[in-house]
């Protein structure tokens, strides 16, 4: 009677888990409601809504992006934007109350101070906001309202841009120039450097 053979664990799985993974960390970081509110408010000041573009907090930048690209506390390797969960949350908690209590001008002032005094943390906030915001589907729709973005579709594939990329048409290379043949290479002296 044939027996069922249960395969052993594939050791490749371990290496894949330790590699940088597309889409960020498989298990998202969990932020408190207060932290989500503060990060959303920060993102909204970094990229203000308007001119047809939505607010970052309204398109899931924090919930769908920050949570995947802040490195969880139990992950050893810390990759770009080098935001570690414990330190990142502590930094957010430290500013959340004042930031949420401030008006827009006050928030701008606090962010300017943060950029000057804590450039690493500010850089993480900016990278996560810019990277997340301009990858959200609702923002891609807004980008297509720009003359330079009319065909833009975010993820490069599957569609590509073959139908709309400018071709050679009447552009013809001048056909000038030459090369030095092997037998024509001679000692060449250049002028002295000043």
């Amino acid at each position: 009677m044939a027996s069922v053979v249960i395969p052993l664990e594939d050791p490749r799985d371990r290496f894949r888990a330790d590699s940088s993974q597309l889409g960020g960390n498989p298990v998202p970081v969990v932020f408190t409601d207060r932290q989500i509110a503060a990060l959303g408010a920060i993102a909204d000041e970094l990229i203000p809504a308007g001119d047809g573009f939505p607010a970052p907090s309204s398109v899931g930048v924090v919930e769908e992006f920050f949570t995947r690209y802040v490195t969880p506390a139990d992950i050893v390797v810390n990759r770009f934007p080098y935001a570690r969960e414990t330190e990142f949350k502590a930094a957010v908690d430290a500013l959340a109350d004042d930031f949420l209590a401030a008006n827009s001008a006050g928030r701008v002032n606090q962010l300017a101070n943060l950029e000057r005094d804590e450039p690493d943390f500010f850089g993480q906030l900016r990278a996560l906001t810019y990277g997340g915001y301009y990858s959200r589907p609702a923002v891609l729709v807004a980008l297509r309202s720009l003359p330079a973005g009319r065909d833009y579709h975010g993820a490069p594939l599957p569609r590509g841009y073959d139908q709309t990329t400018a071709d050679w048409d009447d552009l013809i290379p001048p056909g000038v120039g030459s090369y030095i043949r092997t037998t024509d290479v001679v000692r060449t002296t250049v002028k002295a450097r000043p």
Binding site: P11, R12, F15, D18, S19, S20, L22, G24, E45, P48, G50, F65, R68, V77, R79, F80, V108, L111, R126, A127, Y130, G131, Y134, S135, L143, L146, P147, A148, G149, Y152, G154, A155, P156, L157, P158, G160, Y161, D162, T165, A166, D167, W168, L171, P173, G175, V176, G177, S178, Y179, I180, R181, T182, V185, V186, R187, T188, T189, V190, K191, R193
Partner: protein
């Protein structure tokens, strides 16, 4: 524990352009080949092209620099430079733009032309290598336009050139306005399908690989054919040392990263193709009885004469839409107006001017290739809208001088996941490199003005340079005193050990190196095929003149 594991005719270490081409060509002739690769295949789902997050992944899973990726297969590299290399099947070609320049005849004779620094002539000429360029081009699949008068005649590419997009057109028109030479660039990008690989659909993300197979990376261009020939490609196989006995290579000891077990593999002949950093690292790690300073290093030249090219970038923005997110990222047009040494300059060698694509909205907001991020707050929207889709980048790639002090060494203060020492890079620009790049920067400014750019960010000579090209560290030369390998990539010190990757390039030229690495690998394989028995009986590596004929 070291245990005897296997035997093979030829052991190839590394599966990039050099290792893949050698493996395929040797196995075509029925030679048994085993290839050891410390990484894995890139699975189709690991390419970022279908993901919303494709742009931030450029800094993470698809970062050029292994120090940023920090994947288990990567080894740390210390020092100032940021090297571009991948440790996967196909090697760094999985991550390249596909620029497919040949060296010019003069590039093989720079010792004759000036001999500055550690510059020597190659022991071979362009004419010696030309037939192998042709073979490698056909294997990889090339697009371009025949008839460039800046090169000797050669076979037409397999497909028409990639589309220039508005950015390529803009730069070509600017160069033409300046009276400069320009030509559509040859690329290892299919514009017609080949071997089951799709033609390019201008998706704009080449530098993160290509799941369509349009980009001529070694994993799709060579490995399917090599595997059909029966090559034993072992992934997760990290070589710890090349073994020798009585002055001849006997094989290698490798660590199976899946189990941690060490294995010894025996081979009649070894081909090292682990790139311009990995190859000298492995040779230095292979110090053993009779080779106390590392293998092939009795003259102290392993790791020396490192070249990266010299670089200066010009990010440019225009009033009208350029849509640089469309089209192949790789260079569509280039100018070699200032390629040759000019006696009226205060530097030898020359440069190529190239263009690149712009990627997408997030990359634009973060400053594209070299600029600062768009401002935040009220100024963000006007700035972003002015920049996104209005951008072109052009850059100069200069021929840097090979100097012995620019080198790869071992750094035991850092280790890889198997406990092996890191590579360490020392690299600085010499006076000639700075003069050349300063001249090139001025030309970039002229071109930006001629193109009508309304805003520019021009880096000037970049130091440290982006170490995109890893060349010269086991260079080919004319005698055992001036180099590590002879005219056939055969090491002077160990006759049955060949080295064929970027490390064996004698000079860097002012062009991307992969086409030349592939051509050298094909030539090396043909030499091994033709002279297999004689090589196995050799006790001393000969100069080109005294070596068996190719």
């Amino acid at each position: 524990m070291t245990t005897f594991d296997n035997t093979t005719d030829v052991l190839v270490i590394g599966s990039g352009m050099g290792g893949a081409a050698v493996s395929k060509r040797l196995s075509d002739a029925g030679i048994r080949v085993t290839c050891l690769e410390q990484g894995d295949w890139v699975h189709p789902t690991q390419f970022p092209h279908f993901h919303d997050e494709w742009e931030i992944e450029k800094y993470r899973s698809w970062a050029f620099d292994p120090n940023l990726r920090q994947n288990p297969e990567d080894y740390p590299i210390t020092g100032l430079t940021s090297p571009r290399l991948m440790n996967v099947v196909g090697g760094s070609t999985v991550h390249y733009a596909g620029h497919w320049f040949r060296y010019k005849p003069v590039d093989f004779r720079k010792g004759t032309e000036h001999g500055v620094g550690g510059t020597i002539d190659w022991p071979i000429s362009y004419e010696d290598l030309a037939p192998y360029y042709d073979i490698n081009d056909a294997e990889v699949g090339i697009s371009g336009l025949a008839g460039d008068p800046m090169y000797p005649p050669r076979p037409a590419p397999g497909g028409p050139p990639i589309k220039p997009g508005k950015g390529g057109r803009r730069m070509a028109e600017a160069w033409q306005r300046l009276g400069w030479q320009w030509w559509p660039t040859e690329n290892a990008i299919l514009t017609r399908g080949q071997d089951g690989r799709f033609s390019c659909n201008s998706c704009g993300n080449c530098l993160s690989g290509c799941p369509r197979g349009s980009l001529g990376s070694a994993d799709v261009a060579y490995w399917p054919k090599a595997l059909r020939n029966g090559v034993d490609l072992r992934t997760f196989a990290r070589v710890e040392s090349i073994t020798t006995r009585n002055g001849r290579a006997t094989g290698a000891i490798y660590i199976d990263r899946l189990t941690g077990a060490r294995h010894e593999i025996k081979a009649d002949l070894v081909v090292l193709a682990a790139n311009g950093v990995g190859s000298p690292r492995l040779l230095l790690m292979s110090a053993q009885k009779g080779h106390p300073d590392g293998l092939c290093n009795s003259n102290g030249m392993v790791g020396t004469h490192l070249m990266h090219h010299t670089w200066s970038f010009a990010d440019m923005w225009f009033e009208d839409p350029i849509e640089g997110y469309k089209g192949a990222v790789g260079c569509s047009v280039h100018s070699q107006q200032f390629y040759d040494t000019d006696a009226s300059h205060d530097f030898v060698n020359g440069m190529t001017f190239l263009t690149l694509g712009s990627f997408g909205a997030a990359y634009s907001a973060m400053g594209t290739h070299t600029a600062a991020p768009d401002p935040w707050g009220a100024a963000h929207r006007p700035s972003f809208n002015k920049h996104f889709g209005h951008h072109v980048v052009s850059f100069m790639q200069g021929d840097d001088i090979p100097r012995p002090e620019n080198r790869v060494t071992l750094d035991p203060s850092a280790i890889d996941s198997s406990g092996l020492p890191a590579a360490h890079i020392e690299y600085s620009l010499g006076e000639n490199d700075i003069s050349l790049a300063t001249f090139g920067t001025e030309r970039l400014k002229e071109a930006a003005e001629a193109a009508g750019a309304t805003e520019t960010n021009i880096t000037g000579p970049m130091h440290p340079p982006p170490a995109w090209h890893l060349m010269g560290t086991c260079r080919m030369g004319n005698t055992p005193d001036d180099s590590v390998v002879n005219a056939y990539n055969q090491s002077w010190e160990v006759p049955n050990l060949f080295i064929v990757d970027g490390s064996s390039l004698t000079t860097g030229a002012a062009v991307n190196p992969t086409s030349t690495i592939g051509a050298l690998a094909v030539r090396c394989a043909e030499y091994i095929k033709r002279n297999h028995r004689q090589i196995l009986s050799q006790t001393k590596t000969q100069t080109k003149e005294l070596s068996p004929a190719l």
